[in-house]
Amino acid sequence: MKVANRGYTSRFRWPRLATLSAMLAPSDTSTFCPIFAMMAAPAINAGDNAWMLVSTALVLLMTGPGLALFYGGLVRRKNVLSMLMQSFTAMALVTVLWVLIGYSLGFAPGNALIGGLHYVGLRGVGALPNPAYAPTIPQTTFMAFEMMFAIITPALITGAFAERMKYSALLLFIGLWSLVVYSPMAHMVWGVGGWLSLGGSMPTLDFAGGTVVHITSGVSALVCALYLGRRIGYPREPMPPHNLVLSLTGACLLWVGWFGFNAGSALNAGGLASAALVATQVAAAAAALIWAALEWWRSGTPSALGAISGAVAGLVAITPAAGYVTPLSALVIGALAGAVCFFMVTVIKSRLGYDDALDAFGVHGIGGTLGALLTGVFATRWINPALGPGAPLGGVDGHWAQILHQLLGVVVAWVWAAVATLGLLWLVDRLIGLRVSREYEIEGLDVNLHGEEGYHFE
């Protein structure tokens, strides 16, 4: 996405490694990026910057209150605050890490796997655009926009360890995960020089984060659910959502915020942003209808929870494709995502028996994988000539080999997320333990971990 949406970026090469002296130099970009001195001063476009600032706010809105409410409503009443607090914690913790080092590891010049240390502490990240990514907005805006992606990705995982994870373990895990899994994955797919980026020989088309955000978080969620084990009583005891009104409110905020996520990933306020916004809307709608219809057919009633779950599945699946596909392709992608995620969550999960409490894997892992592969089918140069003028993108352009490139991106995201998450869980488990005591889990996390309750009705 991002990098590749601009034709002229693929020929751009960053210096491979910063020298120590450059790293210690005053925060003047030209000191360690001499390329800037040779280029004409990039022009900031106020319209682009306005849209990207709004998009940045919209993507933050997805985590809080969007995802927080969506997840918070799905857990039992005794754990609602712990669930909200996990998303809120990601907002605060990842912001600090992103400023200190996360942005640099994702987007500074580096090698094929990870960014370097040039932007540590946001040194040199200021009002000047970074033409490699977004030539018409300040790099500060680009950095903040990407920060919101870094925030929501680990927050998505929290659905898998709902109702049983220690708060201290959550802090450590999310912090490490953000740096070990998210930043490198963002660099591989979106960073200049990343081995899956559009400048490479096997480019993975990922407009707004199907692999980087949804596969990594979804697969990590599955590993977390397997490592932590089931909640006490699952699946014998009923654990119905305590407040679907909260969940529906949260899902609607996610849907709206997704316009920033996907249309904002055009990184300007041009026609591509409009195309991505429409694709996003269409896919969410199709998936919501399909999920609810399948539910109607199988269990007799179309539920509110089903409709919102479908919408989120459609939004996930269209994420990698949003800036590459036509509205009708988005309709197909959304419909397939609604159907596949429905069967994954309602049929296959219960047969496999793992307790992914809020279906982070079934929706984000599966929806993200499906969307990434379908992007290889439906991406077209008529929407976005991302690989240069006239170069075909996906199967509909006659370039079916793109599906293999997409598959590579999917496999890398799966393996990277699974292996790294397993290692981090093991580490955190050894250091401080992952799971709360049996007593705490039965009595509820709100009272025991946070010393408060979500509801005091008089």
Partner: protein
């Protein structure tokens, strides 16, 4: 004095209140309760997981009336609460030893 406890369908409360008023009964306590007799519950499905909900929401009315009003009260409760379907509820009549009005310490039927 008798205490009448009636478990009714929540949707019948307004009808029951009206018929009790018609019968000259003033004052009652209403509790939100859950329970079931012969009525079967229903199932709820959340993302494919089915939960049997067998304890259903009901309302419990408690009123204490002088002996001579007991039959009228029971008739009024039946009139207001009956739909003819399983789950309409039950009425229990219990003896009451004494009643005290807290405001002025009146006792017995005068306190009702």
């Amino acid at each position: 004095m008798k205490k009448i406890e009636a478990v009714i369908q929540p949707s019948r409360l307004e009808e029951v209140k009206a018929s009790l008023k018609e019968a000259g009964i003033e004052g009652m306590t209403v509790l939100e309760v859950r329970g079931h007799g012969r009525q079967k519950g229903h199932t709820e499905v959340y993302r494919g997981r089915e939960y049997a909900v067998d304890l259903l929401p009901k309302l419990k009315l408690e009123l204490v009336v002088p002996d001579e009003l007991v039959e009228a009260a029971v008739e009024a409760l039946i009139l207001g609460a009956r739909t003819g379907k399983i789950g309409d509820g039950k009425i229990f009549v219990l003896p009451v030893e004494d009643a005290i009005r807290i405001r002025n310490s009146q006792r017995g039927a005068a306190a009702l």
